[in-house]
Symmetry: C2
Subunit: 433 residues, 2 copies
């Protein structure tokens, strides 16, 4: 019996692409990949920058430098895009989708910026567009949101979705090191780029929040409205304060319902209670914590990066697209709830941890407390520490409107007795698990 | 435009069935459930034992006491079976599948015993058979194994898949209580049955191992070969020893590859390192930890029981079956690797914790150590504690063949200076996360 052959083109043969092509080329795995009777998979081309460079496990005859021609091949069934960035990746993907070719990508920047448009083009041309690897590397969270949780009303998604910052913050927690030291170590080990901006300023986490929230809530809200705050301001003394009070500091991507039709989307450091499942996600691991109205809390944990874990996620998408291909169908895009609106970060209530470097003199606490009171921000606990130049006041507020907390901070910074506002981080309430 | 109506029959209206019917009856959710243009879902009948009993949220006109007639309805698209147990559930399901009706069930006993047979009948008649809720309640682990991880070679699956025993062991850990006290508390809170045998003797966990291993490895091996050991022998002093040495005791369901074609399947208590992600799964929560050759470690966590979480998992299956129905297809069953063979528990190597109640007299350690040596079981660490009637020797072995450890235990029990073997539990190696 002749089984249909599903022809796969791959753009990009770096860590992920190389691992993927090897997985796809391993004939012994094909029984497991697709039912033998259903179809077989064949890599028909691999687009790279330098076709002369030898690549382990890739037949040199497959290599091409013309990615667009590969995307436009007449006989292609599935295009896998692994080059990253918005252009030219978008051009390749649009070319393939317009011909009804299904696309699998790991491109978070592109999906965060153009996800709605590309999904629409895919649907109009009867093709699939899958991007499991764009969030959480090898963790199969996106498919779960699209399928298993399709009937669930999701209230909140919170994720540790950036391995670099989690590695840095984990180091600061386990070793008490300063941010600069931990970052340098992450760079030396290859966990952080020479220019770490995209990670440490939470641009990467915000892009993942955009992708997660679009699937979790069915929104087409702009990613530009996502509130973003990096980890560069996290100090060893903040990590220590957190530890002593039962918390760990994590960079979280958060998307949650607020009221009837509001959605708040944010990426920022936060104090997470040690008993919360997210608190024990260490090093470069990623995790996504989902709170459903009926399902209760759910968490997915796994390796957020790395060639092989990411290739596994890409392969899962390729298999899904191949199965659809064989049965002549494609997945319908997630449904969109047009009533949803973006709620700005200032309008969200939260508990805050605030740390002030102050002059070591009488009366400071009174004037500081007065400013909190002026803005209606009430204090849950206060700690006075250090002496002289090191004198410090640390506060944990009751739940307060973020804009009121920020107004408090602005006024505090103007006080003569306050040297500087050292920290102002959100505190997450207790975990359900 | 007329959209197709997918007709759903539900057998059983307990906690799960009641929650499901309410979810399906909520018209406002249907936009999210299925693309409005795709199909709509309609509950056409609910089979119960007593049709006179009023049931909140269920139209009395839908109630019937004839479950078999419901399963045999001409116009049925999907049958949801929520009565549990092998018969008569099996009869209902077979009747529906034979007519090409897709089936969704939460029935772990049935799927563990008849899963292969039922999946075959479903496939032959072009129907789907989904059972996400049979393992881990609301945790969408089975679909992930069937889809996202379909291309992955899974090396090991370890799960905390029984909420009752995890509640009891968590209580013993957090409060230092004895087994009987913790069990009584679980019974008072409704977490344990009056007859807790199925849970505490690991029958329930073993059934879930059978279902997980069939999907993870593609086996049709008999569930009767699964090694099973309950938690009734876990004492407060064992929990304390574990805590002091950096472990927590958990009831684990384990399925793992051994050598080329071997599969070991077991359910037993084990000492889990505190840094392992499974160690922080508390109370009635469930979690499944998967180690893939390429994906690395992955973990799913969530509520393992309860009407609403379980109903969410059932609903996810119903939506998947409905989408397949609309597009005139069904999922192919997982592929089976006929070469796989069951490896008996005795042939597995493991580190063991062994605790002996001994006479408080000189020379005991020498004779005990001699017996370990006779069986080639080498000792990693030893602790002598208690005096007089309470004298105790606790050992942690190096990795040793289980049958050699059991032979050691048998000989130790015959020693005059050993009152009894208090504990012999496996120790899990460090987590990758």
């Amino acid at each position: 019996m002749n089984t249909p052959r599903i022809r796969v083109g791959v753009i990009g043969a770096g860590f992920v692409g190389g691992a993927l092509v090897q997985l796809l080329s391993d004939e012994s795995r094909h029984i497991a990949l697709l039912d033998a009777a259903t179809a077989s998979l064949e890599v028909v081309g691999v687009a790279v920058r330098d076709a002369q460079k030898p690549r382990a496990g890739i037949d040199p005859a497959l290599l091409t430098t013309d990615a667009l021609a590969l995307a436009n091949r007449e006989d292609l069934d599935i295009l896998v895009e692994l080059v990253g960035g918005v252009e030219p990746a978008r051009t390749y993907i649009v070319a393939a989708l317009r011909r009804g070719v299904s696309v699998v990508t790991a491109n978070k920047a592109l999906m965060a910026e153009c996800g709605t448009e590309l999904s629409q083009i895919a649907h109009e041309h009867g093709a699939d567009l899958f991007y499991e690897a764009a969030v959480g590397g090898g963790i199969p969270i996106l498919r779960a949101l699209r399928t298993s949780l399709a009937g669930e009303r999701i209230e909140r998604v919170m994720g540790i979705v950036n391995g670099t910052t989690n590695f840095v913050l984990s180091k600061m927690t386990s070793e008490g090191s300063d941010y600069d030291v931990a970052l340098a170590e992450a760079q030396a080990l290859g966990y952080a780029e020479a220019d770490p901006t995209a990670d440490v300023e939470a641009f990467d986490a915000a892009a993942k929040v955009q992708i997660l929230s679009s699937l979790a809530f069915g929104t087409e809200l702009s990613g530009e409205e996502i509130y973003r705050e990096g980890i560069t301001g996290v100090r060893a003394i903040d990590v220590d304060f957190a530890r002593r009070t039962g918390y760990v500091i994590k960079l979280l991507g958060v998307a949650e319902r607020v009221g009837e039709h509001g959605i708040s989307r944010r990426a920022h450091p936060a104090l997470v209670p040690v008993e919360h499942p997210l608190a024990s996600v260490h090093g470069a691991m990623n995790a996504v914590f989902v709170e459903g109205a009926k399902s209760g809390p759910l968490m997915w944990l796994g390796q957020g990066a790395g060639g092989e874990p990411t290739a596994t996620a890409v392969l899962g998408d390729v298999l899904h697209a191949a199965r659809n291909r064989v049965s002549g169908r494609h997945d319908v895009p997630f449904s969109v709830d047009d009533r949803l609106q973006s709620v700005s970060a200032g309008d969200i209530k939260s508990v805050f941890y605030i740390s002030l470097d102050v002059l070591d003199e009488p009366g400071v606490l009174a004037s500081v407390a007065g400013i909190f009171g002026n803005h209606g921000v009430s204090i849950q606990s206060m700690e006075q520490s250090g002496f002289g130049d090191e004198a410090r006041l640390s506060f944990v507020t009751h739940s307060a409107l973020t804009q009121n907390v920020h107004a408090t901070i602005d006024d505090l910074a103007k006080l003569e007795s306050v040297d500087s506002v050292g920290a102002c981080f959100r505190v997450i309430d207790g975990g359900a698990a």
